[in-house]
Symmetry: C14
Subunit: 85 residues, 14 copies
């Protein structure tokens, strides 16, 4: 088992775990915020615009942590700095 | 056990775990948002359109984290960059 | 233990775990949404049609994450790309 | 330990785990929806028909994720594609 | 350790785990639905018939996931397809 | 270590785990239903008969999942189909 | 390490785990039912007799799952069917 | 390492774990019932006698599961049936 | 590593774990009952005597499960029946 | 690695784990009782004396389980009965 | 397996775990704060500006812990101080 | 690896784990009591003195369990009784 | 595998775990405090200044525990005292 | 692998785990107290001074458990008593 194989295996497993574990919390957090937004709209329909705007800006911020994980995952798969070519 | 076999095994296990773990949180989050949406419609039927529209845009955003996992899973199965052909 | 046997074993175990783990969250999420829908109908019977329609469109979206897992599971069992024939 | 034995053992263990893990969430989800349905009937007896109908259609949808697991489990036991005959 | 012994051990352990893990969720779900049914009867005694009927049809549906596990467990013990006679 | 010893050890461990794990959920579910029944009687004493009858029929249904586990456990101890005599 | 020693060790460990794990849920379930019974008596003192009677019949049913575990545990210690004398 | 040593070690570890794990649930259940009893007395001081009597009979029943574990633990330490003298 | 050393090590580890795990639940249960007692006194100061008396009798009963663990722990440390002197 | 070294290592690890695990529950239980005491004083300032007195007697009882663990821990460190001098 | 390979593998696995574990809590915390912000806007629309401003300053502070993890992850991948070039 | 090295390693790991695990519960318990104290002051400002005094005496009692762990940790690091000098 | 390599690997893994585990609780705690602050502003807009000021001082205190972890992580990566240069 | 290397590795891993695990509970506890403080200020603005003062004294007490862990962590890194120089 040469060196590149070992690094490849570690990269594959890590890439998969990174994006799968890293998508747990953003999805839960976004689902919670989305649920609260719908409840807020039902409670105060006149403020639907403000609520929706705040919601989507906030969702983008929560999504950013998932993006960090996706970036690391893609780096490991396609631009692995440790892999000697 | 040659190098390709080891990478194949790691890819198979990782692909399965990535999509299965990665689908936990989106499904829970979407279920929560969906439940709240139904509650909001029952509470404020006149705003059903606004609520439904916000719901589906939000669900798409939550779904995106599941898509990240599905993409990584498909890459590992069908376009594995580490597999020497 | 030749290479194909090892890949077969990994595929079998992964296929089973993928669909079983991947069906946890959708079932919980759908159960939650369904429970809320029944509660909403009891609370606002006149909106039963809107609620039911939104429910089933939403359930299909939640179900989609289970389908991703089922697809990966079937690919591993019947169209395994790593198995040399 | 020949190749078929190893695949057999993996299939047995996976088949059992798939159906047992895969039946956790549907049973919990269905129990929750059923409990809510009974509560809704007690609250709004006049809508018992609508509630019951929505309940059973929804239960069938939740049950579907258990069926996926049962199908994979049966395939592994009786139509194992990796087992050389 | 011949091949049949290994398959026997795997079948024994799997059969036990399948039915024991598989009976967790149905028992919890049925307990929850049953508790809610009693509460609903106390709240709306006049609908006791509708509630009881819906309860037992629903319990049968929840029980079905336990039955799947019991079936797989019995197959492994008494009709094991992998055991060479 | 001959073959029968190994099967015996696996049977002993599995029999114990099956009944102990399998008795967790029924006991919790029955406790919950029983607690709710007492609360329902206190709330609606006139319906004590209906409540008690529904309770015991339901408890029997929940108990059935514990019985499945007990049956498998006894089969493993006293009628083990894999044990060559 | 002869065969009887191994079976003895497995029996000892299994007997202890079976009764200790198997006593978790009944104790919790009985505690819950007992707590609810006391609350029900405080709420409806006139029905103390009905409540107490239902409580003790129900407790006996919950206790039965602990008894199953105790029986298996005693069988393993004093009437072990696998132990050659 | 002769046979008696191995059985001794297994007995020591099992005896300790049995009583420690087995005392978790009874203590929690009794604490819960006791807390509810105090709350019930504060709510209905006139029924303090009935409540206290039901409490102690119930506590004895919950305690019984701890006693089962203590009995098994003492048997393993002082009357070990597997230990050749 | 002679036989006595192995039994000593097992006794030390088991003694520590037994009392530490065994003290978790009594402390939690007693804390809960104590908290409820204080709340009950604040709610019904005239019954402080009855509440306090019931509290301390009950605490002694909960404490008994911790005592079982302490007894086993002390037996293992100072009166170990398996240790050849 | 002689016998005393092994016993020393086991004693060190066990002593640390015993007091650290054993201090979890008392601290949580005491925190809970203390919080409830403060709430009770705010609700019924006239009974501050009774509440405080009951609180500290109760805290001492909860603390006793932590003391058991501390005693075992000190015995293992400074009066180890298994250590040949 | 030379020294650089081992450090590479450790860096890959650690980088992935760091960002994936480190993104769990910020995403949950931000989702919670965002949900509360939407609820606060619906409750007090006139203070939407103050609420939104406080929200985004606070989110940046929560995000900072995710940034710490991202920084460490990037250092390990692209500026590894332990890797001899 | 001589005997002192092994004892040193065990002491280091144990010392760290003891204080880190041992500080979990006191911090949580103190946080809970502190939160309740602030709530009590807001509810009954006139009793701020009694509440604060009871709070700090109680916090000291909760802190004592953390001190036990700190003492054991320091003993292991600086006054290790097992380390031959 | 020389000594420096082993220390390097341990430092890399520890640095990553330290900051990732250490950022869980601060992010959760800050998110909770932030959410409560927004709720408090919506409830008492006139005190927005006091609330915001207390919030940010408190957040800095919570953040300090994350800083401790970041400091240890940076020390391990860039100023490792155990690494012989 | 000489003795100092092993102690170094153990110290590195322990130092990191100590501060990371040890910072979980203080951060959660402080976040909870801080959140309650903000709620108390919104509820009783006139007592803001008393609340803030009690809050910061209490936070310092909670922080002390994190300091214990930080101290042990720094001792292990920079003043390791077991490391022969």
């Amino acid at each position: 088992m040469d060196s590149n194989t070992l690094i490849s295996v570690a990269s594959i497993v890590t890439a998969g775990l990174t994006i799968s574990i890293g998508s747990i919390a953003p999805a839960l957090g976004e689902g919670r915020a989305l649920a609260q937004a719908l409840s807020a709209i039902a409670q105060q329909p006149d403020e639907a615009n403000t609520i929706t705007r705040t919601l989507f800006v906030g969702l983008a911020m929560v999504e950013s942590t998932a993006i960090y994980c996706f970036v690391v995952s893609m780096i490991l798969l396609f631009a692995n700095p440790f892999l000697s070519s």
